[in-house]
């Protein structure tokens, strides 16, 4: 079995797929090994799909963290169970495929608010890579949307608003942005704008509404990309090993990373493979645990952890959730897609950054009537008609941006999961001010529901969770304030990179995957440039040596 590669990538999700594809497209014979801890779960399988339709079962849920494998401490429960897929393809096996760019102010959070952190790069540094990422993920978006600067149109037209979105659009049109205590520039106001949710797809969407297990490969899944790479005859040195958890990164000096050690879960054998460059792309949970577990004579507290920063600054999103009720639904509406189509960025702006930006959207499943369940329960046609056209529930939700804090930390706890990965504890607390801000933001959502003529029946701030965890090996300008540099290279190493949400200094108010993909494209560009410079340097050195030898040869003659 081959044990020396140009690149070793730990993790088999979207970051790994993007990076591997970029490197291979640049140089076809590049040798790359991807090590994925989880198994391969078959996609687009008809039996799996029918079981999902008829029984609600999804074939990858057995890979989720169990509650006892991933707990939390602090003044609020941090949901870590059931949020990440540990399998070939990673969490794109189950993601919603919402693809939103971070906004320019997200890269300057500390400068703007005195809290959280700044990125060592700006939005402008990433903008062209966002274009690449949107093309790669085939993002369906609205070119007329102006909520974020962009230099290229979306590659695919947007999904239209559904009929059921209409009432919320009208309510938004009637509401001004209401500034709350703590918002910046309270004198400046603008209308709440409606937007169309950008969604990634891989092939033409046939709207089955079963995005959580797409039967036709319509929703983007990193597994499809990795399959394509494996089957491409140009890429003869590309290999993926599943069931292969990495538990140690090995060094030959402080700066030189030499290899990784993993276990083949099926045979029980342990292997060490060497890589010229090692990329940790295994997510914001696994990356910090692996770094801290990799202790040696040069890194007493784990690689990159000389300043005790690995695993700190956990950032998540809190979900704001307001439900409204109407007495009737004469059109028999329900949300026909399995994802939200209506969104607003009116509170996802710099003015709202101090208090906490929110990204609002109409919930992906309301209004809805589970007609089949009513039939199963023995309701007659007439009774179901009453329900379909009767009381209607609509839910508005928002992600609330949170700011990284030193005391909030993710770390390994004793014991391993079924895949041989260390279990997790998240220490996470919110401040009283954050709780107050979240509740204030809820009031805006309640106003929208009331403007729609609905009665508010529920209004709550859901617990934070691991769905969008970022910040656990964050980028920065020095080892004193961060784990990685602006190219996501671990400080004081030559060849160890983190390509993960872990490297994000802030989490914005939107989903992180598009930004992660853009960062992966940027990393590919950096690695290619680095490789080119090394090649040129080696060529120059060789030329110099040849010249000296020629001179010596002439002198001796």
């Amino acid at each position: 079995m081959k044990n020396q590669f140009d690149y070793i990538i730990v993790g088999g999700g979207v970051a790994a797929a993007t990076t591997a594809k970029g490197l291979l497209e640049h140089k076809h014979d590049t040798s790359i090994l991807i090590l994925e801890a989880g198994p391969e779960i078959i996609a687009k399988d008809r039996r799996f799909w029918w079981d999902y339709i008829t029984r609600g079962e999804r074939p990858y849920t057995f890979t989720y963290d169990q509650k006892f494998e991933a707990d939390s401490t602090g003044n609020i429960d941090y949901q870590t169970d059931g949020v990440r897929v540990k399998a070939y393809g990673g969490s794109t096996m189950h993601w919603g495929a919402w693809c939103l760019r971070f906004r320019p102010e997200d890269f300057n959070l500390f400068t703007n608010t005195g809290e959280g952190a700044d990125w060592p790069i700006n939005y402008e540094d990433l903008e062209t890579y966002y274009n690449d990422a949107e093309a790669f993920l085939s993002v369906c978006g609205d070119d007329n949307a102006n909520w974020v600067p962009r230099s290229k149109p979306y590659p695919v037209p947007p999904f239209e608003w559904t009929a059921a979105d209409g009432e919320m659009i009208k309510a938004w049109e009637q509401l001004d942005v209401v500034y709350q205590d703590g918002d910046i520039n309270p004198g400046k106001k603008s209308k709440i704008q409606s937007g169309k949710m950008p969604i990634a797809r891989y092939r033409k969407c046939m709207t089955t509404g079963t995005c959580k297990y797409c039967p036709i490969g319509g929703r983007f899944n990193a597994q499809y990309v990795l399959d394509d790479l494996k089957n491409d005859t140009r890429f003869i040195n590309f290999e993926v090993r599943v069931n292969s958890p990495v538990h140690q990164v090995n060094v030959s000096s402080k700066s030189k990373i030499e290899s990784v050690t993993y276990t083949d879960n099926l045979s029980g054998n342990e292997y060490t493979v060497k890589g010229s460059t090692i990329i940790l792309a295994s997510g914001a949970y696994n990356v910090p645990k692996l770094l801290r577990a990799s202790k040696n004579e040069f890194w007493k507290d784990g690689i990159g952890n000389d300043h005790d920063l690995v695993g700190r600054f956990v950032v998540s999103h809190s979900m704001l959730n307001v439900v409204g009720k109407a007495s009737s639904n004469p059109n028999g509406w329900f949300q026909e897609y399995d994802f939200p189509t209506l969104m607003s960025h009116s509170y996802n702006t710099k003015e709202h950054q101090k208090k906490g930006k929110i990204f609002m959207f109409k919930n992906r499943t309301t209004p809805n009537v589970d007609i089949a369940q009513l039939m199963i329960d023995g309701k007659t046609r007439e009774e179901i008609d009453e329900i379909v056209y009767g009381e209607m529930t609509i839910n508005i939700q928002a992600f609330l941006e949170e700011k990284g804090k030193h005391r909030n930390r993710l770390e390994a706890k004793p014991g391993k999961d079924r895949f041989g990965l260390p279990q997790t504890t998240v220490h996470f607390s919110r401040t009283e001010e954050e709780m107050k801000n979240a509740n204030d933001r809820l009031k805006l959502l309640e106003q929208i529901i009331e403007k729609m003529g609905l009665e508010v029946t529920s209004s709550r701030v859901d617990k934070p969770g691991g769905h969008h965890t970022t910040g656990t090996a964050r980028m920065g300008t020095s080892p004193e304030n961060s784990v990685t540099d602006k190219f996501m290279k671990v400080h004081n190493t030559d060849n160890l990179y983190v390509c993960s949400n872990a490297a994000f200094p802030t989490g914005s108010a939107v989903n992180p995957t598009l930004t992660l993909t853009a960062m992966a494209f940027r990393l590919v560009n950096h690695l290619i440039e680095k490789q080119t410079n090394q090649t040129n340097s080696n060529t120059n050195n060789a030329n110099k040596t040849n010249t000296i030898q020629e001179c010596l040869s002439r002198e001796s003659n």
Partner: protein
């Protein structure tokens, strides 16, 4: 075991079984079995009036599901044959139409409880799954039009889209015509 669950049936329906899927690896359905099962599927459409034309529009999808569930583990063949036993007994007791009415509307079963009788196995593993299949395969379309509303185009599980962009995938928001009914209410 939930005793009232068995109230509509005779000795076959009432026979107790473990709650898990009836073991059937290596078994396959006969043509006659499939015809009997198709009758259940058709009866669902008839009893809820939720097929716009007739159930035959869904036959190929239904058959594909049957094939997937009996040619891959875990094999449903045992459940399907059990359902036929149950229906036969109910038919003998109530006649064909009455049997389905009893099964669909008056079974008294707790659909969330583990099935521990032949009747409960029939309802949970076969009838309930056929209902979900029928709705997601297009049965939902019959709802939404009662008050002159636009027909729903999509539902979770429905392959409603096409490769042609001109075919609308869902009822889309049209500010000029949408929401009129709600405004009039």
């Amino acid at each position: 075991m939930n005793k009232e669950l068995t109230s509509i049936g005779g000795p076959v329906c009432n026979e107790t079984l473990p709650a898990g899927l009836i073991f059937a690896e290596g078994q396959s359905l006969t043509h006659q079995n499939k015809e009997a099962l198709w009758e259940i599927f058709e009866a669902i459409g008839t009893n809820w009036s939720n097929t716009i034309y007739n159930s035959n529009n869904q036959r190929s999808s239904w058959y594909e599901m049957l094939k997937a569930k009996t040619e891959n583990a875990p094999n449903y063949a045992g459940e399907y044959v059990n359902a036929i036993y149950v229906i036969n007994e109910l038919k003998a007791m109530y006649g064909t139409g009455g049997a389905y009415k009893k099964l669909f509307f008056e079974s008294g079963l707790d659909n969330s409880a583990p099935p521990t009788t032949r009747l409960a196995h029939c309802k949970i593993y076969v009838v309930n799954e056929f209902i979900r299949m029928q709705i997601t395969a297009g049965g939902f379309k019959s709802w939404g039009t009662k008050y002159g509303g636009e027909q729903a185009r999509n539902y979770h599980g429905f392959l409603g889209g096409t490769r042609y962009n001109r075919t609308p995938r869902v009822r889309a928001y049209d500010p000029d015509t949408n929401n009129l009914k709600n405004n009039q209410e």
